[in-house]
Symmetry: C2
Subunit: 532 residues, 2 copies
């Protein structure tokens, strides 16, 4: 069963190894454990639904409402663990077809109800939280629309219901010999419709592209009517309506069908780890690899602190110590940075890509360690969100932030971002443990993905205040230093106040014009993406 | 000097070989030559400019107005050759900076003038033709803003003025060791700003991407203010404003600065020709190659009639006959289809790509002919537009049409499109010579590029009527059979009436909302892209 108060399946437990707790205690002090609320305590707070007569497609069950009230941001986490939800949706709609979505739109208009489109509920930016207000709020979950509806094997296009989550997408495709190849870290829970609505990027975007490249067309139900975007391999017929929908975060309509570009399953795939002696050389190496267009499927680089942290939290301290001695002997000692890369495709091509990558990396002092750590990365690729539980139980809060910028600015923005987090709680005398990786690289630049651990303090209120300081400091640093407010998590409510810096007032006004066109009464996810 | 009444430089003359004229005469009858107007005759028709007091940035010189009155569509060609322009712009503005563009926008508002943004004047869809009306019309040419302004060698981003044409872009980049790699057939004349505004695609889009992938950001001057789009390698921060500008065809604003993703010059590049025995196998072969993701830089396939036509128009009949005997002996006789492909990159990768491509093509009966014909293709890649002159002088009109569709529909749409053209003049007892190639291929589908030659009849009026029948029949066939109205030429005025089929009324209304937002008085290129 899916956890009501955290990430993923209850059966999956990722604990912090003892060695890891010691590592963090040394970095930022002894953990501070706060008490958890029970589901019963939360259920007792759920107020009566404000919806009038019952609607056949809408559940007003208290537990269903609890389970759709919050996403997975750190403030959500704190609210859920404390049992202080504040607002619950008045009901959860579960349509099974585009027609039923249209029926719900009409109903919402008649009943003066706010609707929140809902995929997997994995937002880390406050996309799906109902807000206090006079109007009833209904969460519109697409979970029942999760089927592969059509597969065009000549054109490699698959048509899905918008509510298919990662495993549902891949299992239905793999049964026929295909893959979408889209693996965001939230893959186990997040959905195709959600990926489109929030411009998701998967861990192997280097081969398969971001969701922007995978999304070929589909349908969206809006208050102005149904918009159906046909699939073309490419078109010069005016601005691309797909790109209007991508990133619209539910503000323009409810996605009712998604057509995606799929691939035949590759002949072979392998992941490798290489350690670079220091950050300057590591940064040059990764840029050089991607700009040389070596056909890799994944390329990721941890900075020195992340490398150290990963090795510390990995468990198996004896084996890690052996590895570190080996690396040090070959020139990758203190300050080393771990790079992981993947090759996916036919064996001949993979062999050449591996050869070219190894040769280039050697030129930057890289120490190649083979497939062992690469395999570990692949096995644990969706585990990080579970680790929040282990850290929390050890008394630490952890959150992540991400941006992207051009190569000429990557190092500077990364340093400023880390600095802003590291020093954000200085006035309280609290240390913050900050580390970063580059996980999506492009010829032009890279994403920057920063994690930070801090102590929650003596109460949930303190923890939330600390988070607000950290988050605001980091977001300001990002937008004031030529970073996008999000490379992959989206805007939601948490990033909306920072969006105007990159879109410009005129760009924001253009998006407002579209929102007014599709949703004149501002009934869909108000406050998400656009502050107004 | 650039021709005032046709394509390109006066010094470049491409004549139709005698053998080619014979070939066409056999296919559609003896050519019909119509008399040309002289520049003097046209200059005598230019009316007085309706602009009041002279503006320092605007030329009202008659020849300048003639040279900016028409694009390169077939109706433009007929109008220009006949000397029947109908409408001339009242002046041509030549700004040198974003500030001067803004000054011209303000002036246009004050003077109640229509503005037509103008790049290289190479539109084949009626983008830049002034229309008869009460308000004066000024063509806003960006030709003076053609410099490389900045090159970020770490991020591989070059900043250009919007008016840089293909040779200006490449010469400024190549001097520094870089290339944009964007080569539409109009490359000698068309401009960076025009490519962005009309979603251009270059012949090596398989490696470098379409202009959508190359355009990283920039500025556009609108009546609502300046919109500056920052460069990010990727972003999940809401709908992408770049994609709003791409394909906007001057309706939202005047592009004043373009930042593009460039590449280091490749170590090696080669083009090869292969002949496939028949169309069904050729189609399977090209789809299989692109879906296998063999890293090629160009991939193009002529159907049997185009192959026959190219060989007939190539001149050198003795050599061609020798080639055809050789091909027939190896299984590629009548009905053979010529495929050209390119590899660009480092030598090791190129060697593997060539090996894999050859192996796959052999499986479909492909006869590999080495680099000779590939070289010829590369040398002549921008010559086709000049051939219109040679054909015209031999008494034939020629035009091209293009679309794209998913692989499962390519053959069907291609056949219907060719049929619609081949039979469009049947009521007049006229034959039309129609042939097609696929020149941009994607995993999902392909572009379809169809050329057609017909006899102009006894007058320019007849020629235009024939073209209208052909064009309308083809456009209807495209949009009613799941093709986009344009894969690379854009919408302009000629395709605007067909756009709603693919965008939907709701999509058109969304674009209208944006046009109203940026240009409330509809002062920029009215009627282009959107009928209203």
């Amino acid at each position: 069963m899916r956890r009501w108060n955290g990430w993923g399946e209850e059966s999956t437990v990722v604990e912090l190894p003892a060695h890891g707790a010691g590592f963090l205690a040394e970095k930022i002090g002894t953990g501070q454990v706060l008490p958890d609320a029970s589901l019963e305590q939360v259920l007792a707070q759920v107020p009566a639904s404000r919806l009038g007569e019952p609607h056949a497609l809408i559940s007003v069950d208290a537990e269903v409402r609890v389970r759709h009230a919050r996403g997975q941001s750190l403030p959500d986490w704190l609210a859920v663990r404390e049992g202080r939800f504040e607002v619950f949706p008045d009901g959860v709609a579960l349509p099974e077809s585009a027609e039923q979505i249209r029926e719900l739109l009409t109903w919402a208009q008649q009943q003066d109800v706010i609707l929140i489109p809902y995929g997997g509920g994995t937002s880390v930016a406050g996309h799906i939280n109902p807000q206090a207000g006079d109007k009833p709020v209904v969460t519109l979950s697409l979970e029942r629309m999760n089927k592969l509806l059509e597969l065009d094997e000549q054109s490699l296009i698959a048509t899905f219901g918008p509510g298919a989550n990662g495993p549902q997408v891949e299992s239905q495709l793999r049964a026929r010999g295909y893959t979408l190849g889209h693996y965001p870290q939230s893959w186990e829970l997040s959905t195709l419709g959600g990926w489109v609505a929030s411009r998701s990027s998967g861990q192997q975007s280097l081969r398969y592209g971001r969701i922007e490249q995978l999304f070929a067309g589909g349908s969206v139900e809006t208050f102005a009517g149904t918009l159906t975007i046909p699939t073309f391999p490419a078109s010069a017929a005016g601005p691309d309506l797909r790109e209007m929908l991508l990133g619209s975060e539910g503000r323009f309509g409810v996605i009712s069908e998604v057509r995606v570009r799929v691939s035949k399953l590759a002949e072979a795939e392998n992941f490798y780890a290489v350690f670079l002696p220091d950050w300057p050389r590591a940064l040059q190496a990764i840029r050089s690899l991607v700009q040389a267009r070596v056909p890799l499927s994944m390329l990721r680089l941890s900075n020195a602190v992340e490398t150290e942290t990963q090795l510390a939290l990995a468990g198996h301290p004896a084996q890690i110590a052996w590895l570190e001695r080996y690396l040090a002997l070959r020139g990758a000692g203190d300050g080393k940075c771990m790079m992981t890369f993947g090759v996916t495709g036919n064996r001949q091509q993979n062999a050449l890509s591996l050869k070219q990558a190894k040769k280039q990396l050697k030129g930057f002092g890289g120490v190649f360690t083979g497939t062992l750590l690469g395999k570990k990365w692949a096995e644990g690729r969706f585990r990080f969100p579970y680790l929040r539980h282990g850290l929390w139980e050890a008394g630490y809060a952890v959150d992540t932030l991400e941006t992207s910028t051009d190569w000429s600015n990557v190092d500077d923005l990364l340093n400023k971002l880390e600095h802003s987090l590291r020093t954000a709680l200085e006035d309280e005398g609290e240390r913050v443990h900050v580390f970063t990786h580059l996980s999506h690289v492009y010829g032009q630049g890279s994403s920057i993905y920063t994690s930070y651990a801090f102590r929650p303090g003596s109460s949930y209120a303190t923890a939330l205040e600390r988070w607000k300081k950290l988050k605001h400091s980091a977001c300001q640093t990002i937008v004031n230093n030529h970073g996008t407010i999000s490379h992959q998590h989206g805007v939601g409510r948490d990033h909306a106040p920072y969006l105007a810096v990159e879109k410009g007032e005129l760009g924001i006004a253009a998006l407002q014009a579209l929102s007014t066109h599709f949703d004149p009464e501002k009934r869909l996810a108000p406050g998400v993406l656009l502050v107004k």
